[in-house]
């Protein structure tokens, strides 16, 4: 069978893909999508530890549900902020939004 370390490695790779997306891309929407990738990596780690190590409880799955609920709240508020920015600046690229620098 697949050992626990494979699942944790997959979760690590997924997390760093999301972190790279936040650091490299300049479109705010794709940066938010990368944050979703990182949340899913944490979900995978929680679920894998629940299945392999603490299989007498369902705590990891419960926490994954809470992470999904928090992701929904984060997406709703974040996209509302992006709409407000787009209405004011007519762009979603972060290099055009550096108002704090000047």
């Amino acid at each position: 069978m697949v050992p626990l370390s494979s699942y944790i490695m997959l979760s690590t790779i997924l997390f760093f893909i999301g972190l790279t997306g936040v650091l490299v891309r300049r479109n705010i929407i794709i940066m938010m999508v990368s944050i979703e990738i990182m949340l899913n990596a944490s979900n995978l780690a929680l679920v894998a530890f629940n299945r392999f190590r603490f299989y007498n409880s369902n705590d990891g799955m419960i926490f994954s549900f809470l992470v999904i609920a928090i992701a929904a709240a984060e997406v709703a508020v974040g996209l509302a902020i992006v709409i407000a920015i787009y209405r004011k600046k007519k762009t979603v690229m972060i290099q055009d939004l550096s108002v704090m620098k000047h």
Binding site: I29, I37, S64, I68, A80, V82
Partner: protein
Amino acid sequence: MGVYIFYLFGTGLIATSVAALLMKNPVHSVLSIVTSFFFLAGIYAGLSMQFLAVIQILVYAGAIMVLFIFIIMLFDLQKSEYSKDRFLWRDIIPLILMIITASGFIAAIGRSEAIKTYVVNAKLPTNFGSVNAVSFEFFGTANSVGRYSFLFEMISVLLLSAIVGAVVLAKRKL
């Protein structure tokens, strides 16, 4: 058999996630992420978390990501706008740093004996990962309160405040 399914879904998960970061158009990027969430749901099902796999597809891929696509459709960005988001040479620095850090983590996980010794236990509880188990934790039984009932109520308060905040932020004029 389960090993091949894990590696198939894991490869698909990583490939679609990387493809999402390589796309210029945000719509293609979000659709690629939706595909990767389907692969992740397959991995959850392989860990006998059937209910979480269904929720992953219904809520995450079906509701949250469709909200992304809906917002992108509202923007009506031109092609010239997408070309601003190109790979610059200074972006190679975070890329290399991330690859080095990730390989360090993976090497540490691969060397750890404490993690490697755990394999799938054959005798799981009968209601592991089912709707029954989740409802028992969240809502309790007729005579008792579940362990996470208060957390469930707090999540509903959080979602309500997120709805109010989204409406206030997206409103043109208060």
